[in-house]
Amino acid sequence: MDLYLVGFLMCMWFSSSRVLGGYPIWWSLALGQQYSSIGSQPILCGSIPGLVPKQLRFCRNYIEIMPSVAEGVKLGIQECQHQFRGRRWNCTTIKDSLAIFGPVLDKATRESAFVHAIASAGVAFAVTRSCAEGTSTMCGCDSHHKGPPGEGWKWGGCSEDAEFGVLVSREFADARENRPDARSAMNRHNNEAGRMTILENMHLRCKCHGLSGSCEVKTCWWAQPDFRLLGDYLKDKYDSASEMVVEKHRESRGWVETLRAKYAFFKHPTERDLVYYEGSPNFCEPNPETGSFGTRDRACNVSSHGIEGCDLLCCGRGHNTRTEKRKEKCHCIFHWCCYVSCQECVRVYDVHTCK
């Protein structure tokens, strides 16, 4: 058994050395349905591709938490696709590939920074939420950080233990980012920026549950923000990401690469900012080498002058317009008790796509 695993890992190492160098293969957890199941079949740690030994040990020791890790990566990818839905690069995933984003994230680009941050935040978020829901026996509500209650309310409910979620995300996502190269340093930084977003946006959530819903009795607990808010926040960080340069230093363990801000007169990045050190490819044309799918046939907004508008999204190539008839439910009426009846209407839409 152990020999087989050693052999398996050695094969992975030699055959996919290029991919292992920069790519978190374990992100494919988000796409495999078998990894998310809890009751039907257990997670086989050995069958998850791309785990480094530390992650493998984590998986075996904390098998209960692994479904939340998978759920978290999925959450991050969903949010990435929402935030970039009108962009030239729209966070497309490739089916049947362990490198689920393709080579676009091989380079140390701004896009790579965002995906690392949102995936890391997703894992922390999903683990924290599952702890509060009580699906795992090794974590639960946060009983610390209580402090004295405010005026007119009491502590109650289940305060979400975001510190635990962040700890799990750090242990798992950063386990493979311990190399001395610049890419590893960048990934660690951006992973941590994603996690900091959660800790800084924890808020007090309250409920009034006195007589007749009054606020005579009011209970509050710490809650994570909605993940959409985290996505919005990190998207702003993506837009204002800091470009870095790679510096090499000789240390006792050999050459170590670190990152320094490229432009000294700009604000230096804090631990909450995203960082990158390689330029993004042109996403206008398809390019298998860079992983760009191009914007041909993408739907665009003809009345917008923003990035999702036809001028910018189509990269000046122009757009086609066609009309589309769609059948939709309309004039819905709720009948007592209980069903909804609707008429069927045909609406005509103008659909604009890039040439």
Partner: protein, 296 residues
Amino acid sequence: MKSLASLSLWRIIILILPLVSLGQTFEYGWPDNYDKPPQCVDIPVDLRLCQGVGYHQMLLPNLLEHESMAEVKQQAGSWVPLLHKNCDPGTQLLLCSLFAPVCMERPIYPCRRLCENVRDGCSPIMAAFGFPWPHILTCDKFPQDDMCINTPNDTSTSEPNGHPPVCPPCDNEMKMDVILDHMCASEFAIKTKIQEVKRENMDRKVTLQKKKRTIKMGTLKKKDLKKLTLYLKNGADCPCTQLDNTRNTYLIMGRKVDKQYLLTGIHKWDKSNREFKKTMKKLKSHKCPAYENVFK
């Protein structure tokens, strides 16, 4: 005779709004977030507010953000006394469409008109017990189209009967569950006689006799008990046979609102009545819903 609706309402307590606002704009379909969708569950037998409402399954969490059935039951319990007042035919439908919403592909909210009818019919009675119309039932946030819940046979206006409405705290059937519900909705209950009843502005001021026996102490203090004066809120002109008969002994319930003690229930202490005797016996073991328990 002026109806209760035309009387000026007791001033509304300014509610401290919860940090997470419950007054968000409702949209059809589940909101665009990553929360898990509600589950379809049977309406439990002991959710008395919604027994006989016309459907048998509900969504959990409900439309008031109650996340567990224990929370739903606890919060719905304080509304059961209002049902017994029969202040509007749509009361149960309005409350249950939010506390125990029907299971549909998307949430169905009560119609604004249903909410306004219930509010106009019931808020004077709630005010008499010291409760303002709550923020969770603000009518402006409910839809006005056809995709909402209305009373099934929505007649425009019901004919008012010839009798003037009885003062709400005096309109008490001699039924065990009604008395127990009022007991839970009140802060204190005492056995005593009435010394004097006097009009004071829109209210009636009830002075009790010195000799009292405490049935339920609640938040009442011993020194306050001695010179207790209760107010029948907005009750200057409505009939109350109990207050007209000062020779009887009464079970009197009340609660404190600001600096006034409001009369919330008055029953004749009638040991010869079998229902009353059963109620007083049951009272010793009856547990009112404890609000903190749900969140422990």
